[in-house]
Amino acid sequence: MGFPDRIERVVEIAHPPARVWAALTTAEGLGTWFGNQATIDLRPGGSAEMTWTGGHTADMRIERVDEPTVFGFTWHIYGLPDDDPRRTYVEFTLEPVGAGTRLTVIESGFAQLPEDAYREAYDGNTRGWASELGELAGYLDAA
């Protein structure tokens, strides 16, 4: 098994692309099937937010809007601390198939690391590395 840098899922949906598009790109849609509530400013560079009744929030930045074919956004990498700047890119692609839609979702970028983190992670020159002790302690508590 290689490092899972991307996750890809394909589903067939018995509804035309226009309906699937609305479910993916409107506050009403996202706030119903994905989050419990959502806001969205549907344009490249716009922001979207989903919240769940448990208190969890997902902030997205819209990257691609090609109605009704491609919808892409970036968001925080799941599982990393909230202040970690790294993000994954999620892209939905809609293809008409008969009266329905083939929906592909690809989430990519899990393997990204900033250059300095690579250097620190992989070579012996480790002087000056600031240990993030709180993060480590949290991780050990969870392990």
């Binding site: 990204q112 620190e120 302690a137 050990l140």
Partner: protein
């Protein structure tokens, strides 16, 4: 040579699988850099066992040795490999199957 993220993650998981090694990492996290002798004094682990665990942790890149007083090596934490392992887990943990099922149900209503 390209970095092998998966190998790093695997070493981290092996390192964390042992309760004595987790105790050593936690002691270094809370108390700062320490020698094998310091750690053996603080933990219910013999000095020989501490030295063995430290060698494995150093190989995984989770601790790094530096010269200390009286030519004893002091070990300090490095969290970079832990972050690599966290990203590995994040990729595995992201689950699209649930949301996509929910989308299908939503549209069928």
């Amino acid at each position: 040579m390209p970095p092998d993220i998966e190998a790093i993650a695997e070493q981290v998981f092996v390192a964390l699988a042992d309760p004595s090694r987790r105790a050593i990492l936690a002691a270094l996290a809370s108390g700062g850099p320490a020698t094998a002798t310091d750690l053996a004094g603080r933990l219910p682990i013999t000095r020989q066992a501490v030295a063995k665990h430290l060698a494995l942790l150093a190989e995984a890149g989770l601790v790094t040795g530096e010269p200390g007083e009286r030519r004893r090596v002091r070990y300090r934490l490095r969290s970079a490999p832990m972050q690599v392992a966290q990203q590995f887990l994040a990729a595995l943990a992201r689950d699209w199957d649930g949301p996509l099922d929910a989308l299908r149900d939503h549209l069928s209503r």
